[in-house]
Symmetry: C2
Subunit: 666 residues, 2 copies
C-alpha cells in the first residue's frame, strides 16, 4: 500500500495526529484513572469516552445524518430499547449465529480472534521474506504507526526467505481472509503452524464465541436478556405499526440512531474496534417483485464510485473499478436500483461531512463473510492509516427477518395491496362434508381435516384421480399410527378458478448501517494536516456544518477594555444558537489561533483597539488564514450565511474588505 | 387531590389520552408482538419504543436542552460509555448501596417493592374508610384512570370504618413514605398486617435488591461490569481532563445525554417507571467555600416557584409555599445561590418546552430518601394523572464522588489555585534523621517513618512535650505487635510557620439530572385537550419548537392537479430543514386536520383550486384553527419566522389577510 498523505501532501504522522486528538479531548479511554492506577484487573478494553469537541462533532454528524436521510427521504424514525429479551434474538438467529471464531493460547490462556491471528502471522512472514530479499518493508513503531525501512536494521522482523509459490499462497489467503469459516481457519492454523506471536505457544482449534452481552431482566433470574448488537430488530418488530402509520403505502423506510454493543474478543485499533458504539441504521422495506426499482435513482446514477467486487477478491486481488452507478447496476455488479440508490446517498453523505473522496471505496462481501441474515452486502470503506475501514454496510437482508419473526409470533408481517387486475388462479379445492366427517372420525376429526387442507396442489390432483377411480384415498394424519382412509362421501376434490383481488407479500429489506465512531475517526484522519514546514501546527479542516465549534473569539490581548466586547459577541452568537469559544489567555494571538485550528474551528473573530473604538471586528478563515474586516452586524450576518450554506468563504472574501494587519498567522 | 383538568378545563380522560398516544405511535411497548403472542415468558416489563412522532418530540426536547444548558451556559458535553467495570461502581457506592427494598410473597413468590406495597394497601384502607363514612372516593377503572364515586356501587372498595386516630396515622405514613429504610418498612408491614393485595398472602420481610444490570466484559468470565444507572460517574472520572480543557478555570459544568438503566423491581405507570431511560445530566463543579454564590443568580432571582420543603413533609403535610427564588435562598430553605440558580434554569426550561406552569412544584428530599451520595436534593415534580412525578432531580453531591475516586486511584481530583494572599500555617513538623532511623529499625524503618508522619497535630504537640521531658516517645506502628520507642537522636518535633501559596480543594458538585421520558410523558398530559363538546377530537398543543412535525400539507381533495404543488411545497420545506407531512388521503379536510391535531402539528397549509391558479396558499394555526392566505413566498417566510421564534401566530395573523373559506374546522 502506498504511504498515506495528508490533505497538504505530507506523509501522515499518526503519532502526532492521535496525540492531538487525545490532548484536545476529542476522545479518551474510559476509566483511564482506574486503568493507569492499576485498579482494573479484568478486560475492560474497547471502551472510549468522547470529550467536548468529540461529542459536538459526533452530534453534528448525527444531526446531518438525520437531515440527509430521515428528513430529506421522509423516513420513520424509531427509538427502540437496547435491552432485549432472549426470545427475540433466538428467532433472529443472533443467539446461535452471531459469533466470531476464537483460539485459546494453549499455555497462557489468552483468547485470540482466529482470523486476526492468521493475518498477523502471515503478514509478519511476508515481511520477513521481503527483508531476506533486501526489499523495503513497512515496520510498526511502538505507537502503532508504520514506516518503510530496508536493510539489516529493521526491528522485530525476522528475515526468512519464502519460496515464490508460498508468497503467492499467503497473499491469496490474506485477500480472502474474511471468507473462511471456523474449520477452515483451524485448517490454515494447522497447515501453516500458526502460533501466538506473544510467546510462540500453539493455539487450540477455533471455537465460536457469541458477541452479545448477556444480562438478566427483573428481580428473578429467570429472564435472560441481551444488549442489542444492532438496532435493526426493534425496527422489524414494529413493522406492522409502521406500515399502518405510513397509511399502508410502500415502499418506506424506518431509521434508528442509538448505541449497540458487541463483546469483541480482542478490541484494537482505537475507536475502530470497540465494544460499545453509536449506530445509525435504515431499514428500507421494498416490494421484492418488479426488480426493486427506485424512483429517485436518476438523482444518483451518474455518480462515479470505486468498486471492489466479490469476484476480484476471490481471485486474490484488490484492484478497484471506477464507474457510474448507472453502469454498475446495468452490468449487474450492483444487484438493483434500490441498492444502487442507497450506495449513492451514502457516498453523498460521506462527502457532505468532509470525507476525502479519494479515500472512499465500495467493497462487496464474499459469501462466508456476510452476516447470517444477508444475501448481498456492500461496505463503504474509508482509507486510514489502519488500512481500509468498513464504515457503512449496505446489506440486502431479503425477507429474512420479517419471515422469522412472523413465523414465531404468528403475526402476519406482510403488505396487502389491491391488485389492479384481479389474479385468476386455477387450483384444486377440497370440499369437506363436515356433518359426516365429525361423526366418522370423532376426536380425530379436527386432525384429519387439518391433514386434508395441508395437501399440496400435486397431492390434491392425484387424490382427485384416486377418489374418482377407487372412491377412497388414504392419507397420513400426524399422531395417528396408521394411514387414514377418507371416502368420497366425506370429501370431493374439484378444480376451480379462484380470483385474488388482494396481493400479499413479505417486503424485502435494504439496510444501510452506519458505524458513527468509525466514520468519526476516519473523517478526522481525512481532514488532518499541518501548516507548511511546521508539523507542530496541526489543523483539522472540518466543514463548518460538522465543526464542533463554529467561531473562535480572540481579544488582541488581556487588556481589560476588550472583555465587555468579547462577552457581548459571545452572547450574541450563542443567542443565535451558534457555538463559540473565547480564548482570552495571555498567549500570542498566533498561538491562540494555532491551538484552536487543532479543534477545527472554521472562523475566528479578533477584537482589537479599533473594535473598541469603531465597533468593527475581523473575521478569519481557518484554512486560508485570510481575514476580512467589517461592522459586527455584517460579520454576524456573514457567519450565519456561511453556517447555513448560503455563501462560501470565497463569496464573503470577495464582498467584504480584506484585513491585512495583526493576522498572527505569519 | 382535586380532579385534574385539561388546558380547556375539561376533566382529564386518561383512557382517551393514552389511546391517542399509542394509536399515533408516540410510543409502544417493546416486543409487543412477542408479548401478545405469549412468546415472552420472563419479566421483560418496563421497556418502551418511541415511534416517529415520539422520537421526533424526544429529539426536539433534547435539542432544546442542549441549547438551553450546554450552549447557553457554555458547558462541556461528554459522551461516556454505558458499560462500566465493577471497580468503578464499587468505589462510587452503587454496588453496595444502590438498592430498593423488596418483599417476596410467601406463597406465590412474586416480588413486590416494599414502599409501593405499603402505599397501595394503606391508600385502599383509607378509601374503604371514606366509603364507610359515605364520602366520595377516587376509584381506579380497569384502564388505570380514576373517577370520583360515592355510595354502595363503588367497585372494588371494601367499606371498612377506621377510627380517626388511625386515619391520621395512615395519612402521616403516606406523606413520608419515601423516608423509611428497610427495617422501618418491615416494621410497618408487621404492625399494620400488610399483605399482597393480589391473593392476600403475607409477605416476607424486606430485603435489599440492587438495581444495576450486571454483565461480563470480554471472552473470559473474570471481568464483571454493569450498565450505568446514571451518567454521572463518567463525568467525575474525567474531571481532571475537563478542568484542564477549561484552562483550569472554575466554576464550570460538564453535561451528558444518554441512556441509563435501572432494574426496577416492578415497573409500572407506563413511561414513568421504566428499566431503560434517556437522561440528561449536568455536573456543576463549584468551590465549596464562599457560600456557593452564582454570578447569574440575578437573572432568575425573581421567579416565583412553588416549594414543598422537607419540614412540611416530615410534619405529614403537603402544603406548597409560593415565593421568589431570592426569598427562598435568603431564608435558607434553598441552601445557596448556585442550587437556586439551577432550580430557576430548570423551571425556565420546563416552561420553554410547554409544561403547564400551574403543574410544577419543587419538592425537597427527606433525609432517608436521598441517594447515598447526596447532602441535599430538590426535585422538580410535574403533576399528572399519576400524581406528582419527579422529573428533574437537583442534588448537592458535595465532594463525595471526587473524593472516593481520588482516594481509590490516588489521582488528585482537585483544583489548585494561587492564593491572592499567601496562607501562613503554624504547625508542628517532624524532622527525621533518616541516616540513623534506617540502621535502628532495619526492615521496619519505612513503617516507623510512615507512622511518624501520620501523627496528627495534637499528637505531635504532646509528643514534642514528651520528647523534651523524657527524650523518647512510644508510638503504635501498624503490623508491629508492641509499642515502638523512638528516641530524640532519631527525630525532633518543632513548631514552624509554613507558607502556602497555592490553595488546593476538592470541588463540590451540584447535579441537575433530567429524566427525559418522564418529562416527555408529563408534557404530553399537560398539552392534551379536546375541541369543545367533542372528546373524540383530541389536540396536542405542543409549542412549535418541540412539535414533532412543524407543517401539515393538505390538498383540498385527491384531484390530480394538486399533487405537483403539494410535492413542491414539501420539497421546499424539507430543503430548509423544516419537517412536514402531507395528508392527501380522501378523508374530508376537517377530518384530516383533526387527525393531525392529534400529532400536535402546529401549522397547516391547504392547497386548493386558487393555489393552482394564482399560487397562493392558506396557513392554519392548530390551537385557534384560524387561517391566513398569502403567496407561497410570504407563507414560507412566516413559517420560518414562527419556528425561529421571531414572530408569534398573533403577529402573523395581524399582518397577513385572514382566510375564512373552507376551513374544515367547523
Amino acid at each position: 500500500m502506498a504511504e498515506l498523505t495528508t490533505l497538504s501532501g505530507d506523509p501522515f504522522d499518526r503519532t502526532a495526529f492521535e496525540s492531538l486528538l487525545k490532548r484536545r479531548l476529542f476522545y479518551t479511554e474510559s476509566f483511564e484513572i482506574y486503568r493507569t492506577s492499576g485498579n482494573l484487573t479484568g478486560d475492560s478494553r474497547g471502551l472510549y469516552d468522547y470529550g467536548p469537541p468529540g461529542c459536538a462533532l459526533q452530534s453534528n454528524i448525527v444531526d446531518l445524518w438525520r437531515k440527509h436521510f430521515v428528513l430529506q427521504e421522509d423516513m420513520l424514525e424509531l427509538d427502540c430499547t437496547i435491552l432485549t429479551p432472549e426470545e427475540v434474538f433466538k428467532t433472529s438467529g443472533h443467539v446461535d449465529k452471531f459469533e466470531d471464531w476464537m483460539c485459546k493460547d494453549s499455555k497462557k490462556g489468552d483468547f485470540l480472534r482466529a482470523d486476526h491471528l492468521i493475518e498477523t502471522v502471515l503478514e509478519a512472514r511476508l515481511k520477513g521474506d521481503k527483508a531476506a530479499r533486501g526489499l523495503a518493508v513497512e515496520v510498526e513503531k511502538s505507537d502503532g504507526t508504520t514506516k518503510k525501512r530496508k536493510g539489516p536494521k529493521v526491528n522485530d522482523i525476522k528475515a526468512m526467505k519464502l519460496d515464490d509459490a508460498q508468497v503467492k499462497e499467503y497473499e491469496e489467503i490474506l485477500a480472502k481472509i474474511d471468507n473462511y469459516d471456523g474449520p477452515e481457519l483451524g485448517a490454515l492454523i494447522e497447515k501453516y503452524d500458526i502460533r501466538n506471536p506473544d510467546g510462540n505457544s500453539p493455539v487450540l482449534p477455533p471455537v465460536p464465541f457469541n458477541l452479545m452481552f448477556k444480562t438478566t431482566l427483573g428481580p428473578s433470574s429467570a429472564s435472560p436478556g441481551y444488549l442489542r448488537p444492532e438496532t435493526a430488530q426493534g425496527q422489524f418488530l414494529n413493522f406492522k405499526k409502521l406500515l399502518e402509520y405510513n397509511q399502508n403505502s410502500m415502499p418506506f423506510a424506518s431509521a434508528s440512531i442509538g448505541k449497540s454493543f458487541r463483546n469483541e474478543i480482542s478490541p484494537r485499533s482505537g475507536l475502530l474496534r470497540v465494544r460499545e458504539f453509536l449506530m445509525a441504521e435504515i431499514e428500507h422495506f421494498v416490494d421484492p417483485e418488479g426488480g426493486k426499482k427506485h424512483p429517485k435513482f436518476g438523482l444518483v446514477k451518474d455518480l462515479q464510485l470505486s468498486f471492489l467486487n466479490r469476484s476480484t477478491q476471490l481471485a486474490g486481488k484488490t484492484d478497484l473499478q471506477t464507474t457510474s452507478l448507472a453502469d454498475a447496476v446495468a452490468r449487474g455488479m450492483v444487484d438493483n436500483e434500490t441498492l444502487g440508490y442507497f450506495l449513492g446517498r451514502i457516498y453523498l453523505f460521506l462527502l457532505r461531512i468532509g470525507v476525502d473522496k479519494n479515500k472512499v471505496r465500495f467493497r462487496q462481501h464474499m459469501a462466508n463473510e456476510m452476516a447470517h441474515y444477508a444475501t448481498d452486502c456492500w461496505d463503504a470503506e474509508l482509507q486510514t492509516t489502519y488500512g481500509w475501514i468498513e464504515c457503512v454496510g449496505c446489506a440486502d437482508r431479503s425477507a429474512y427477518d420479517l419471515t422469522v419473526h412472523s413465523k414465531k409470533t404468528a403475526e402476519p408481517l406482510v403488505v396487502r395491496e389491491p391488485r389492479r387486475e384481479p389474479l385468476k388462479v386455477e387450483e384444486w379445492q377440497i370440499d369437506i362434508n363436515k356433518a359426516k366427517l365429525g361423526p366418522t372420525f370423532k376426536k380425530n376429526a379436527k386432525a384429519v381435516e387439518t391433514a386434508l387442507t395441508a395437501l399440496s396442489q400435486a397431492e390434491r390432483e392425484s387424490s382427485a384421480a384416486a377418489l374418482e377411480k377407487e372412491g377412497v384415498i388414504s392419507i397420513t394424519v400426524p399422531n395417528l399410527p396408521e394411514k387414514t382412509e377418507v371416502s368420497e362421501d366425506l370429501i370431493s376434490i374439484v378444480k376451480r378458478t379462484r380470483v385474488e383481488n388482494v396481493r400479499e407479500y413479505i417486503p424485502n429489506v435494504i439496510e444501510p448501517s452506519f458505524g458513527i465512531g468509525r466514520i468519526f475517526y476516519s473523517l478526522l484522519e481525512h481532514v488532518y494536516w499541518h501548516r507548511p514546514n511546521d508539523p507542530a501546527r496541526g489543523v483539522l479542516s472540518l466543514p463548518i456544518t460538522v465543526a464542533p465549534t463554529k467561531v473562535l473569539i480572540v481579544p488582541l490581548s488581556t487588556h481589560p477594555d476588550f472583555a465587555p466586547l468579547t462577552l457581548a459577541i459571545s452572547e450574541t452568537l450563542r443567542a443565535q444558537g451558534i457555538s463559540c469559544r473565547s480564548d482570552d489567555s495571555s498567549a500570542s494571538i498566533g498561538k491562540r489561533y494555532a491551538r484552536n485550528d487543532e479543534l477545527g474551528i472554521p472562523l475566528g473573530i479578533t477584537v482589537d483597539f479599533d473594535s473598541v473604538k469603531d465597533g468593527t471586528i475581523t473575521l478569519r478563515e481557518r484554512d486560508s488564514t485570510k481575514q476580512v474586516r467589517a461592522s459586527q452586524e455584517d460579520i454576524f450576518s456573514a457567519i450565519k450565511s456561511l453556517i447555513d450554506g448560503r455563501e462560501t468563504w470565497e463569496d464573503v472574501f470577495k464582498r467584504l474588505p480584506e484585513f491585512l494587519g495583526q493576522s498572527g498567522d505569519e
